[in-house]
């Protein structure tokens, strides 16, 4: 379903973040990408979300070369994936409900159905009843759940998460890991990065290890 073909990414300034990377991910797989800081993990996900484009090679999803998508087509591609970036990027002047509502309002969902979906997504991540809470009133773990709710509210087939367990206490981190596992069990293809590979060990996911931009 997801395919990296000889992908190289050099950032302006000459730094090579990824070098000739080949990856093949099947539908419904759960893949954990590990590696040190600066290994190129974020770059990998950014190429998939087309926040960056490869210098060489191509990224295919369902047979389509997403790295060649026109700028005007990008919004529609992004709506079809669930994206959780390294910095949480919640809107701190909006309630939990409004934060999760944003993707649906972007894709012009009818408000009534959208409201139901938001509540369902919040419930799915264990934030039922916290609709009115502002992000600052939530703990770090809860904020991360909120980001996840926002990413799944559009019911994407692919979920990309960049270090979703970073900065979380062990117990919280395990909860989040369980959450991704449960999405995967529901059929979603999950690709996430972490520098704490041990956390996901018990699900025996497929593991990709990056070092200095190349797969080990």
């Amino acid at each position: 379903m997801i395919r990296f073909e000889q992908v190289t990414k050099r950032y302006p300034g000459g730094h090579t973040a990824l070098e000739r990377v080949d990856i093949d991910i099947a539908r419904g797989e759960m893949v954990v990408v590990t590696g040190h800081s600066g290994a190129g993990k974020s770059t990998l996900l950014k190429l998939l979300a087309v926040l960056e484009r490869p210098t060489e090679g191509r990224v295919l999803v369902g047979g389509e070369n997403v790295s060649a998508l026109k700028r005007a087509a990008l919004p529609y591609w992004r709506r079809s994936i669930g994206l959780i970036m390294q910095d949480q990027r919640l809107l701190f002047d909006r309630s939990a409900f409004d934060n999760v509502m944003l993707p649906l309002s972007i894709s012009s969902h009818p408000p009534r159905e959208a409201a139901k979906r938001v509540s369902a997504a919040l419930e799915r991540v264990g934030l039922a009843g916290r609709e009115k809470a502002m992000p600052v009133e939530l703990s770090g773990g809860e904020q991360q759940r909120l980001t996840i709710a926002r990413a799944i509210v559009n019911r994407p087939q692919i979920l990309l998460a960049d270090e979703p367990t970073a900065h979380l206490d062990d117990a919280y981190a395990r909860d989040i890991a369980d959450l991704f596992r449960s999405f995967n069990e529901a059929g979603v293809t999950v690709l996430l990065t972490t520098h704490d590979g041990g956390l996901f060990e018990r699900y025996a996911p497929r593991r990709l290890s990056l070092a200095h931009g190349t797969l080990q």
Binding site: A49, I106, S108
Partner: protein, 300 residues
């Protein structure tokens, strides 16, 4: 329909954003309102002045002086011709040279001057009083009258009404220029407000892009923001003009009373309101779209 729904949702998002910062919203609207209140009030006052000018020049006079050598027959003939020209909207009065002489003599201290003259220096004259006529009709009549045979001179006694008309025209021009400048100011104010809004909402713009928002979706509420702010400013401007009417109504009425004129200061009419609001909203929209076009790509 779909387009309309998208627009309405964007408008709603803009309104919500405005409510999130009520103080800023009110302040910006006040700036717009004061800028728009000046031309709005000026426009209202000019309209009233024009109405006043209309009532004043309602009974204008034209004096028609014959050549001193004109014979009695010619004078009679001329009187007929004037009547024909007037049709039914005026009266003609002949003031013969003898009458004029007598009236002049009745003024104390002037008779000696006349005694020194060999003959009556006055000519026969007509005073034409019109029921009502605008400046154009008066001017046309004046030129017709001066073409009559043996007419020496035609004098329009409502020259000052014409001057008032000219003054009003000048005022209108000045007002148009003022409105143009302030309209430009309104666009500039909105341009800047939207620039600040784009900065304030930078996070939301970036997050929205990540979540698959199109440029149009991002831009739309800012356009609405500008238009709504203009609209709000327009409402304030209209209210300010209304207050000005209230405050000026009494002194203007008293002033008019001194000249025995019937005069009531009229506030902006419904149509004026519509034009004012539409114009303010449009200018806000323009400023906003210019600002978004210029700043959005730099921000995210």
């Amino acid at each position: 329909m779909n387009w309309l729904r998208l627009q309405m949702r964007a408008g709603l998002r803009a309104a919500r954003q405005m409510l999130r910062q009520p103080f800023n919203t009110l302040l910006a609207a006040l700036v717009v309102g004061i800028a728009a209140a000046l031309p709005a009030t000026g426009y209202m006052l000019l309209g009233n002045l024009q109405r006043l000018a209309g009532t004043v020049s309602a009974a204008p006079e034209i004096s028609v002086f014959m050549q001193p050598a004109a014979s009695a027959d010619t004078v009679k003939d001329t009187e007929k011709k004037i009547r024909a020209l007037l049709a039914k909207d005026g009266r003609v009065e002949l003031i013969s040279r003898d009458t004029a002489l007598k009236r002049f003599r009745d003024n104390e201290g002037l008779s000696e001057i006349l005694d020194a003259l060999p003959e009556n220096p006055f000519a026969d004259a007509f005073v034409v009083r019109l029921k009502d006529a605008d400046a154009q009709r008066l001017e046309a009549l004046r030129s017709e009258l001066s073409k009559l045979p043996e007419v020496e001179h035609v004098q329009l006694d409502s020259d000052w009404a014409k001057r008032l008309d000219a003054l009003i025209a000048l005022g209108r021009q000045a007002l148009t220029m003022l409105a143009g400048v302030l309209g430009l100011g309104l666009v500039a104010v909105t341009f800047n407000t939207i620039r600040l809004q784009l900065l304030t909402q930078r996070d939301e713009i970036e997050v929205s892009r990540l979540l698959g928002a199109t440029d149009a979706w991002i831009r739309r509420p800012f356009h609405w923001f500008g238009a709504l702010q203009g609209l709000l400013g327009g409402v304030l401007a209209g209210l300010l003009a209304l207050v000005a009417t209230r405050m000026l109504a009494q002194p203007m009425g008293e002033l008019a009373g001194l000249y025995s004129l019937e005069f009531v200061l009229r506030p902006l009419a419904a149509l004026d309101w519509v034009v004012l609001l539409a114009l303010c909203a449009l200018l806000g929209w323009l400023g906003a779209s210019a600002s978004v076009r210029r700043h959005l790509s730099r921000i995210a």
